[in-house]
């Protein structure tokens, strides 16, 4: 299954199905991030239940320095 992740096409390993698993795969499960799937924000409480599908467009966003 491949998805577009932060603008880049990536093939997901087997076993990476939910948003939670995606975050763990990139070792960012404990970071302050916001996840958007197909332009819909995924709330934290749904990370476990939302499954990714082939062709999904996923954005992982965070806060950076700014004025």
């Amino acid at each position: 299954m491949s998805i577009t992740l932060n603008g880049k096409s990536v093939d997901l390993l087997e076993g990476v199905i939910t948003v939670e698993q995606l975050l763990s795969h990139y070792h960012i499960e404990n970071r302050i991030v916001i996840v958007e799937v197909n332009k819909e924000i995924v709330m934290k409480e749904n990370y476990k239940t939302i499954s990714l599908s082939h062709g999904d467009v996923v954005e992982i966003i965070h806060f950076v320095g700014g004025g």
Binding site: N6, E36, H62, F63, V64, G65, G66, G67
Partner: protein, 255 residues
């Protein structure tokens, strides 16, 4: 005391968190500034390269109010999307509406700013729009119900200071919501001047982060904002064309 919506703040200095030489210097500068409101930008995380430290994650978030901006947005819809992302973090419900309409001057797009502010108010955000020094736009934004207006002193990052004090004064005079002078501040005198005009607060970033000694400049800005505010509250003397002696003009020992 600065009051925005239902929140109160001791400090009238709002500090940006971009472009510091190091996290260590940034941390010290933020501490020394005694700012309670810090701005941030919302961006894609660089998940494909090595983990990079993140300033926000090193902060004691119980001590600060986060004011994310919508920088990068060119339309109201993009601004709303960014604002919703920021709010989904669960860390903030304030948003600095920043919709840039011109790449060279980074001046805000007034039409999109107004539209974005309206949409975000409907979504329940505490809305602080960054605007130019347009007096009528500031009034229209206030009529929509924004929680503060943030007119620029001069273009973002320019350090040119207050180029139109008259219009800023008009905005300050007419506004019932806080007026925070945002962008263009270059030196402590600019910050003090903004406060002397009667502004409720000053938001700056590059003036501190780009200074030779950001920590010292953070302290200078803190003092300048306090001095300017006290001066405004105290009520300055009228300017006169000619000298008026401060010492008594009678009882001279030389006569």
């Amino acid at each position: 005391m600065l009051k925005i919506a239902d929140r109160t703040f001791q400090s009238r200095l709002l500090l940006g968190t971009g472009k510091y030489p190091s996290f260590d210097i940034q941390k010290k500068a933020v501490e020394v500034s005694e700012a309670e409101i810090l701005t941030f930008a919302v961006r894609r995380m660089n998940i494909f390269s090595d983990k990079q430290p993140n300033f926000l994650e090193q902060l004691d978030l119980s001590k600060y109010t986060l004011l994310p901006n919508t920088a990068g947005a060119k339309t109201a819809e993009e601004a709303v999307r960014i604002a919703k992302m920021a709010k989904a973090s669960g860390l903030c419900d304030m948003i600095k509406v920043e919709v840039i309409g011109d790449d060279r001057t980074l001046l805000p797009d007034p039409v999109e700013t107004l539209k974005a502010s309206e949409m975000l108010l409907e979504e329940g955000f505490i809305v602080l729009p960054y605007t130019s020094d347009d007096v009528v736009l500031a009034r229209r934004l206030e009529e929509l119900g924004v929680h503060a207006v943030m007119p620029a002193a001069s273009p973002i990052g320019s350090g040119k200071g207050i180029i139109n004090p008259l219009y800023l004064k008009f905005i300050i005079e007419q506004s019932q919501v806080p007026v925070i002078i945002d962008a263009g501040i270059g030196s402590p005198k600019d910050a003090a001047f903004a406060m002397e005009l009667g502004a409720d607060g000053v938001l700056l970033n590059t003036a501190v982060s780009g200074a030779k000694d950001p920590v010292k400049m953070a302290q200078a800005m803190k003092l300048a904002v306090t001095a300017g505010r006290l001066g405004f509250e105290a009520g300055r003397i009228e300017e006169k064309e000619y000298a008026i002696a401060s010492s008594p003009t009678t009882g001279m020992v030389t006569s």
